[in-house]
Symmetry: C3
């Protein structure tokens, strides 16, 4: 399970890095807490963090559940695609929100593969 | 654990479905990213997704922890109530935010039961 | 693992408590759903809940992953610091958003320790 824990660890650190960028953007663009609007670039960083939170809640359980049925190294490799997809998403969204779909696709596709893997594993175990 | 993984899988897919509805509402009502306000119906779909995210973060750990102490099939059955509760919540909130409490109750009640189950299990294990 | 489940349970209950305070603030300050702005104090409670959600998504996987490599009682003890940090954060943020950093530090520090623990454990397992 060490590979699964490694990918989980990297996903959590990546997410905390995005949260750090939001805090930095808050300072840079003078958006005082608790406001979450007020500057377009701040809002982009904020939405990147929120979108990552929204996916992370799916990614981690999908990763661990898939590893209960399939080779953890393969599952971890699929998880690594998600890690890269989030970086692409961050760069795309901050540059131009309309270009965020490539990074989003690279994030949601490995999650979809993991979910299909869980589904197949569950059906094979129950039938 | 396959029943627990099945309920988890369905909860994750349900949540991604809600996120998909937000994206669709964004397009339908012309709310451009990164804005998260601007049209009442979009905001309702957005709040349904956020509220589901807020509960999912509790639901999944509670489900797995409860299954460490109690019959996983019973735990999964309690989890299934949550899945239905979220559908009722979605329909209620989008129709009229004031009617969201039935669906909310149907979502939070099974979570409360799972948490009580974890508590009793933990106390019995430690005492 | 009962100590890990206990800390998880307390973290989930604490978080639901914060969500309850948001609902209460919504009623007290007349902020009708789906709005999430409109009154400064409501927004503080809301941001406390959101910030706790943002950390909880990291805390729970870090706690369980760390417990796979280290003495679960020690891991649970580190997790208990997070529980206290969140209370300090709540009190600080609601009183004055500028004083939220102590509670935030007390929340993020144990998470950082857990993540370092996972990292060391993973490296030792893989090398």
């Amino acid at each position: 399970m060490a590979w699964i824990h490694l990918v989980t660890l990297l996903a959590l650190i990546e997410y905390l890095g995005f949260a750090y960028l939001v805090g930095k953007a808050r300072a840079t663009f003078g958006v005082k807490a608790p406001a979450i609007t007020g500057h377009e670039i701040f809002e982009r960083y904020f939405r990147v963090q929120m979108n990552t939170l929204e996916l992370l809640i799916v990614f981690v359980p999908a990763l661990f559940s898939a590893a209960a049925y399939w080779n953890p190294q393969w599952v971890a490799a699929i998880g690594a695609v998600y890690l890269i997809g989030r970086i692409v998403y961050l760069r795309g969204y901050v540059a131009d929100p309309r270009t965020r779909s490539i990074g989003f696709g690279l994030s949601i596709l490995p999650i979809a593969v993991l979910l299909v893997g869980v589904g197949v594993g569950v059906v094979r175990a129950l039938v």
